[in-house]
């Protein structure tokens, strides 16, 4: 699998640097955040194996439900006057719809608020095509995936610090999917545990030393 390291002041700059080196577009790559601080972000960008992508790419055709959901979202975007492509993320469970195109920042909005609203509307629209309790995830330019990567890295950094100092760390307020990513990242760590405090939308994850009884 081809991959490249990218560096930049922001996550977007780092990803773009790696994409230029690879000669690829965001649609064909996976992004892993290697490190992130106030001055520099380093990412590892890997090109998705074309054979795997092609094999998985045939799944939406095989999965009529995913294709129906995809075309409904595509129709919604068309009505909104947004020129973008919608693809079903290969092998995703729950069904994840990736929206790609140019200048889609407005679809993400402040801290992903517009993206989250779009996901709610999409789920209401496609609800009758889904099983009970089943939901679809909507992602724009892999924003959500990158956020998950980022918060996972934050969690691992916090865990390292907790192990060194023995003091608990309270992270910034995060959305539910981000908190879940942190809980999942640390659940198998024998030395630290995570819990949440506060009320929405200021609910924060606290990473602290795991107590012996836990």
């Amino acid at each position: 699998m081809r991959s490249a390291e990218g560096r930049g002041r922001t996550l977007d700059e780092a990803v773009d640097a790696a994409l230029i080196e690879l000669g690829e577009t965001r649609r064909n790559v996976d992004v892993k955040v290697v490190s992130e601080n106030a001055n520099e972000t380093i990412v590892e960008v890997s090109v998705i194996d074309p054979a795997v992508a092609e094999a998985a790419g045939s799944m939406p055709q095989a999965n009529g439900k995913a294709e129906t959901v995809r075309s409904l979202l595509e129709g919604l975007l068309k009505h909104m006057g947004v020129r973008a492509q919608v693809q079903v993320r290969p092998g995703s469970d729950p069904i994840t719809l990736d929206i790609t195109g140019r200048d889609l920042g407005a679809l993400i909005g402040w801290r992903g608020e517009t993206l989250r609203a779009l996901q709610s509307v999409t789920n209401v629209m496609v609800g009758k095509h889904l099983d009970e309790g089943e939901r679809v995830i909507v992602d724009v330019e892999r924003y959500r995936q990158r956020r998950e990567h980022t918060v996972r890295e934050i969690a691992l950094r916090a865990a390292r610090q907790v192990k060194m100092t023995g003091d608990a760390i309270t992270l910034d307020a995060m959305q539910a999917f981000e908190r879940r990513a942190i809980h999942l990242a640390l659940e198998s760590d024998p030395d630290v545990s995570s819990s949440s405090i506060g009320e929405e939308p200021d609910r924060r994850v606290v990473v602290g030393p795991r107590k012996p009884a836990e």
Partner: protein, 88 residues
């Protein structure tokens, strides 16, 4: 708390229920409380359209409608609030 912040808080509660971070159980009562808090604000009482959407969101919650539906209605209330402000 300003009306927009209060509606955003209600949306966050609903979204947390829908996304399920696994770190708390959000009950419909809590969602209803968050929406009622929005209805009690002086700012929203002067905006019938906002109240209409908030009322619909409250009804949807008590009717057991999916969280995404409630969230969508609250987003509509937020939009109506911003629309109402720009008209004043």
């Amino acid at each position: 708390m300003a009306a927009a912040d209060q509606i955003r808080r209600a949306i966050a509660v609903v979204n947390a229920a829908a996304d399920g971070a696994g770190d708390e159980d959000i009950t419909p009562t809590e969602i209803a409380e968050a929406i009622r808090d929005c209805l009690e604000l002086a700012e929203t009482s002067a905006m019938p359209k906002v109240r209409k959407y908030l009322g619909e969101a409250l009804d949807a919650t008590s009717d057991g409608m999916p969280a995404d539906f409630v969230a969508m209605t609250l987003y509509a209330a937020l939009g109506a609030l911003q629309e109402g402000r720009s008209l004043h």
